[in-house]
């Protein structure tokens, strides 16, 4: 049978066994011996740079030392006490620009201690054994609403539960986890996200309400009325459009939707994938979509970015990983239109770009056409919020140093406040610190009583 020239979208391009292998754990766990060998490379620095490089300030030399003495409970407490999503972070953190990037071992040897892998080793047993590391605090009688069950929301909820507050977490999706559940490449976390959240919730005092969207089936005013405080961890639920011709053609999708479907799929071999896939964007979502397209069996995957690779928000390590996986990266091109045939996408027409004399991005007029059966758009996510809205600036909710929004009794954190980074680890830190700020505010209010 001749290959289709256009709209060649098919499931089962690879065998089930091949798919299973492609989507297995991208970096398998260390066993005890490998972990000891890796841990023994840690110099146990004084006032270590790696701690400062971690947004949650995990005491890394301490947990690594505990690994060397087989004190895994102590190591896990070091990690999870600072970062309740230490399991996910060990898998998805761009360690090469955080802890491992600041490891003093980089200087003499260009080989940092494998902090991420060690963090996973120190925590994997916690979920496996369902270890009880934290106790719920004595009931304070306070109730707090958290909107959004992603890393920021659940980190906040857990910290509040440890203090003794009761928490109700609302989420628009059917499952908790936010990006951990729907947005991270399958090969990085497999089925781990759900297990981690089950363990996290086992502290008690946290109630989950799914399929609830703020502004549609619950109003902020109601939450403010019914709860002592509200924490908004909405993430960025909206998706930017390209705003070009052909965007509604069949075969054009948002990369986040593609990733979510892939994560939730039980039968990868029944998932359709184009023979030729074009991903537009330069962030980690673009990378995850491109790599997973390859892993599903797409023959030609092109990642097109309007600036140079150096300006990509995806880390260099992620980009190199994508290239190793066979993704063709084209830089300095911007999409002009998506070309279709019979209502289905057949190609993407790009224009080459360059920086003009003022450093602004400008098209050169020169065109490039890349044939495609599927186009995945990954040009950024945006805040989506309806109803009563706190002050918003540059598309993000404005908060003060205590994560308080412009609305009294409402705090916010995570991607929806958009601090310097969009990292999971930063969202966790936001949630943790906001929880303590909320607790301080509640305590102050009761003192004033």
């Amino acid at each position: 049978m001749p290959r289709q020239e256009i709209a060649d979208i098919a499931a089962g391009r690879l065998s089930a066994a091949q798919l299973a292998e492609n989507f297995s754990d991208v970096s398998p766990p260390l066993d005890r011996q490998a972990a000891l060998t890796a841990a023994q490379r840690c110099f146990f620095c004084y006032d270590a740079p790696c701690i400062k490089a971690c947004p949650t300030a995990i005491d890394i030399p301490s947990f690594i030392r505990r690994i060397t003495t087989d004190n895994l409970r102590g190591a896990a407490l070091d990690i999870l006490g600072a970062n309740i999503f230490g399991g996910t972070c060990s898998r998805v953190c761009p360690t090469e620009i955080l802890c491992e990037g600041s490891c003093v071992r980089n200087r003499p040897e260009d080989a940092p201690v494998r902090i991420g892998a060690l963090q996973r080793y120190a925590t994997d047993w916690v979920y496996r054994d369902d270890a009880r590391l934290f106790e719920r605090g004595r009931d304070s009688g306070r109730r707090i609403a958290v909107v959004g069950a992603g890393p920021a929301g659940l980190a906040c909820a857990h910290a509040l539960a440890r203090i003794g507050h009761r928490v109700v977490v609302f989420d628009a999706h059917a499952k908790p986890g936010g990006l951990n559940e729907y947005g991270i490449a399958r090969y990085k976390v497999l089925d781990f996200a759900a297990r981690e959240i089950d363990w996290l919730l086992s502290i008690g005092g946290i109630e989950l309400r799914h399929d609830v969207t703020l502004g549609s089936n619950v109003a902020l005013a109601e939450l403010r009325r019914d709860y002592d405080a509200v924490f908004l961890s909405l993430g960025l639920a909206g998706v930017n459009a390209l705003g070009i011709e052909g965007e509604s053609l069949q075969g054009v999708h948002n990369a986040v939707d593609f990733i979510a479907v892939l994560r939730q799929s039980n039968d990868l071999d029944r998932l359709g994938i184009g023979r030729r896939v074009v991903v537009i964007g330069g962030g980690n979502t673009a990378i995850d979509a491109a790599v997973q397209s390859r892993k599903l069996g797409a023959e030609h995957v092109t990642l097109a970015y309007r600036r140079g690779t150096a300006q990509m928000s995806a880390t260099a390590a992620e980009r190199e990983f994508a290239q190793t996986e066979g993704v063709n990266v084209i830089e300095w091109v911007q999409p002009r239109r998506i070309v279709g045939s019979a209502g289905k996408v057949s190609a993407v027409e790009f224009e080459y770009t360059q920086l003009d004399a003022h450093g602004r991005l400008a098209g050169t007029g020169e065109l490039l056409s890349v044939s495609a059966d599927v186009v995945l758009k990954a040009v950024g996510q945006v805040l989506s919020i309806a109803g009563e809205v706190p002050e918003i600036r540059k598309g993000r909710i404005v908060v003060d140093v205590d994560y308080a929004t412009s609305i009294p009794g409402v705090w916010a954190g995570g991607d929806c406040i958009g601090t310097s980074t969009d990292l999971t680890v930063q969202a966790v830190e936001d949630g943790k610190r906001a929880a303590h700020a909320i607790d301080r505010a509640l305590a102050a209010a009761s003192t004033r009583g």
Partner: protein, 422 residues
């Protein structure tokens, strides 16, 4: 190329590297392999009287340090567990097959003259080059009045050495136990009894670890453990100190000495030879890596000697002895300060915290609000701790800063027993 050959109390070997009396020299098969690999000699695993002893299952315990296997090794194996005649026959054959190699036979029999008088002619008859008296093993045999039970009593050492010299023409080496207070006493006794040489150290009495699940020492034999003999790299500093004490003791000055204790490289060997050793004996390193390690020992020692211009072992043997002195003679005016090479510093902060917590608060941790490690000369006493904890080679060096003449404790005003100039 340097000449590594040795003549140690009349025993000749092509190089100073001998295998110590231990499992590697238990039988002809192993010793053949050792000689094929290039070892200069062996001390055959200790022979005893028939009926031969028996050994237990599980014989070794090891100390692993920071990922390194066998920083120290402990054994509870006893002397040979084969019939005397089998050993004697094999010794005879091996010596015949390898005439240029040193064949020393280790012996341990009860502390009575008749026992020694009986076994010595049998050994001499094999063509062996010398005997080594095992007065060292701290486990098992010592409970039966042998091994270190003899080595801990200088009078016994002298007595047995005398019997051996009286009943045999073979050179006699006395192997000393380190499980005593002053190593010079047994060494003096051995020479007083007529011994030709001493060898040291035998193993150090030890328990390597307690298994916290079994609640028993390791190695564990069906739930119980016992103290054993410790050896390997961890014991080398102890061996060096003991060898130095004998080498610089006026009573035993210049006497032949075969060094044992954690030797695994040519450098280890050179250090012992610099302290006066005529040959060195190796066991743990061979048990860890096999006999092939002797290849680098020979090559490394030879290359180092060539580089230094030493043509023969004797050219540097004992050269360090004169520089081993008592504390009271050290120059109190010698002054060094640590110096941190900022280009090499990787900012680990280990020098700072070591000095801050446990030494002299002489290393900064920041400068103008920036992480920065620098020595405060006024506080630095030149103890070297920072240099040892620094993970980067030559990042912290010690610079000499004094310019006063030698002055030591013997004349120091704080010394109540000082020598007053008249």
């Amino acid at each position: 190329m340097a000449d590594l050959s040795c003549n140690f109390v009349g025993v000749r070997s092509p190089n100073p590297f001998w295998l110590a009396s231990a499992p590697p020299t238990d039988k002809a098969y192993n010793v053949h392999r050792a000689f094929e690999a290039g070892w200069g000699g062996v001390v055959w695993k200790t022979l005893g009287e028939d009926p031969h002893i028996v050994n237990v299952s599980s014989r070794y315990g090891a100390v692993q340090w920071n990922g390194q296997r066998i920083a120290g090794l402990n054994n509870i194996e006893l002397i040979t567990d084969r019939p005397l005649q089998v050993n004697l026959d094999e010794i005879r054959q091996v010596k015949r097959d390898w005439p240029d190699r040193a064949m020393v036979v280790s012996l341990m029999v009860p502390c009575d003259e008749a026992s020694w008088k009986r076994i010595l002619p049998m050994v001499e008859d094999t063509g062996a080059d010398a005997v080594e008296l095992n007065f060292g093993c701290p486990h098992g045999m010592s409970e039966r009045g042998m091994g270190s039970a003899v080595g801990q009593v200088p009078e016994y050492i002298e007595m047995v050495a005398r019997w051996v010299k009286q009943h045999s023409r073979l050179p006699c080496i006395v192997k000393l136990t380190p499980n005593i207070t002053d190593i010079r006493k047994p060494a003096r006794a051995a020479f007083a009894g007529g011994a030709d040489a001493v060898s040291l150290i035998n193993t150090i009495n030890s328990i390597t670890s307690i298994d916290l699940d079994l609640m028993a020492p390791t190695p564990t034999v069906d739930g119980k453990g016992t103290h054993g003999g410790y050896c390997g790299p961890a014991v080398r500093p102890i061996a060096l100190a003991m060898v130095a004490e004998i080498s610089r003791d006026p009573v035993t000055l210049g006497k032949a000495l075969s060094a044992i204790g954690g030797i695994g490289t040519w450098r280890d060997a050179a250090e012992f030879i610099a302290l006066g050793a005529g040959t060195v004996q190796v066991c743990t390193a061979a048990m860890h890596y096999g006999f092939r390690i002797v290849d680098d020992m020979i090559s490394g020692l030879s290359n180092w000697m060539d580089g230094k211009g030493y043509a023969r072992i004797d050219d540097f043997r004992g050269r360090a002895v004169a520089n081993v002195t008592d504390w009271q003679f050290l120059n109190l005016n010698y002054d060094i300060k640590a110096c941190i090479d900022q280009d090499k510093c990787i900012q680990c902060g280990l020098c700072h915290i070591a000095c801050e917590d446990t030494a002299h608060q002489a290393i900064t941790r920041e400068k103008n609000g920036v992480r920065h490690f620098e020595v405060i000369d006024a506080e630095c006493v030149g103890c070297n701790l920072c240099m040892h904890v620094c993970p980067v080679e030559n990042c912290i060096t010690m610079q000499r800063v004094d310019n006063r003449p030698h002055a030591d404790w013997t004349t120091h005003p704080n010394n109540p027993l000082r020598v007053v100039a008249t």
